[in-house]
Amino acid sequence: MTSTLKISRLTKRYDSVEALREVSLTLEPGMRMALLGHNGAGKSTMMKIILGLIPFDGGEVSVCGGAPGSAASRAQVAYLPENAAFHPALTGEEQIRHYLALRGESTAQAGELLERVGLGHAARRRIGTYSKGMRQRVGLAQTLIGRPRLLVLDEPTSGLDPVSRRDFYALLDGLAAEGASILLSSHALTEVEARTDRILILSRGRLVASGTLPSLRQEAALPVTLLVTPAEGRAKALAAALPGATATADGRLRLDCPQADKLAVLARIVTALGPQMADLDVIPPSLEDIYTNFSHRDGS
């Protein structure tokens, strides 16, 4: 199986600023990869290099077996820019027909594509009258043209409401199941959590973490949080029994413990303090925590 996207030691400089430093990654067919990072971390720059829109200074990039931006790779790559924009004088349908023609596909599919992203009702209205979310859907519709082997999506769900986001990820699941590779960037960490196979964290142009969510959890070695709800009238006794715990605003007790000690601590609490508790929640470190951890490691 050949990789859809292979990047090794990619470096890009803007004057004296290093936008990307020795970034390497491989994207296999059917894989969904999320690219996380602050604004200015290098996400959009990397995407534009993959698309062949801007040149790079060092390293190697291979897109669908060809050079980025070559005619062969452009024919197999779909892109959704951050804040997708279109000519306001055209209708959604006309715009999609244009993109279909540019990809050498039948323009008759325009209606169906717009239907798939939930824009069927507005297909004949000018894009100038669309909301941001609707323009974003036009952008999504054009990424579905043909059967792209690689989808590069820059903040694809910005401007979409929660229901549309769910529909959008369902669309992506379908594409990935058919063998398309997906590279997306996002600020909405929680939605990426469940919907991607691999997570990459960029910080100031460097790749600071890469892996599946469980492996990143392990690597970050962040503490697990236990939230204890005291039983009626037992709050004081419970607080005395758990000296390391801090009280939360809603009257619960919060206890952090290392990942490795989790089971031992749980067993101790439950056997010794069982009757004094009304409830106990175990909260693993969230992607937000892991993200913050990795993006702050290099001293930023």
Binding site: L80, F86, L102
Partner: protein, 273 residues
């Protein structure tokens, strides 16, 4: 080819919605009719048919109006895409930058041709109504149309070049107006000053013909005036017209659009979205 046509179709639709087609056509028809009406009056005594006179008047009009229309249509072509943010996505499609330019050129040329045919046509019809003998001047009207299209193509290409270089529509508009002023007004004034100070010396005999051919607007005027022998009395620059062979001005008119397109391509290739 299908990608060029698809681009052209979209551009034409946008121009139609932006009223560019209507504006260009209305301008051409209006000016042509005014010229036809005023130009036809004095011909009775001279013995020349009204259409021949109108064609000469239209030539003088076209030298100003065609480059202006072409630049107005083209200055936004690349800079507008950059400003709207539509260029990055477009460039990830399997379509080359030359194809994008050719598509836009095709659409804009179609609009220009439509405006020219309707405008000049209206003047032709009016001349024919005044004097049916005008039918003999039909070839010169036809010549005026295709040379105007070539002139327009040259300035469309120059407009795309400025649009690629400035990357902002406001900047491109300023440059386009400057270019128009330079090619259509200042250039001739400069040549006039040269001829006057030179007093028929080497500059007038050697430099002037080359200088006239180097400017598409002057080549256009030269070609149409020297081709229209019947109205040699047009005077002015027409006097110089006889000194330069017809094929030279024709070659300049054909080469300019090609050169301008090449310039536009070179400039557009340097645009990083």
């Amino acid at each position: 080819m299908s990608r060029i046509l698809a681009t052209a179709a979209s551009e034409f639709r946008i121009a139609l919605r932006n009223r560019w087609v209507a504006i260009a056509t209305a301008l051409m028809v209006l000016f042509s009719l005014v010229l036809a009406a005023t130009g036809a009056a004095p011909t009775g005594d001279v013995g020349v048919d009204p259409l021949s006179v109108t064609v000469v008047s239209l030539t003088s009009l076209a030298v100003y109006l065609v480059p202006l229309l072409a630049l107005l249509m083209s200055f936004d072509a690349i800079a507008g895409e950059v400003e709207r943010g539509t260029l990055p996505l477009l460039l990830t499609y399997p379509v080359s930058r030359l194809q994008i330019l050719l598509g836009k050129l095709l659409a804009h040329l179609a609009i220009l041709t439509l405006a020219l045919v309707l405008g000049y046509g209206a003047a032709g019809v009016m001349a024919f109504i005044t004097d049916p003998a005008s039918i003999t001047a039909l070839p010169s009207l036809w010549r005026l149309i295709w040379t105007s299209v070539l002139l327009g193509a040259a300035f469309l290409g120059l407009g795309y070049t400025l649009s690629s270089l400035s990357r902002r529509p406001s900047g491109a508009a300023g440059l386009a107006m400057g270019l128009w002023l330079l090619f259509v007004v200042l250039y001739d004034l400069g040549l006039l000053a040269m001829v006057v100070t030179d007093g028929g010396g080497a500059l007038t005999t050697h430099v002037l013909p080359v200088a006239l051919l180097a400017n598409p607007a002057d080549a256009f005027r030269l070609f149409n005036l020297s081709a229209a022998h019947a109205v040699a009395e047009a005077g002015g620059i027409g006097g110089a017209a006889h000194a330069i062979a017809l094929w030279k001005s024709a070659a300049s008119l054909v080469l300019w659009p090609v050169a301008a397109l090449f310039l536009a391509w070179a400039a557009f290739r340097k645009v990083t979205p």
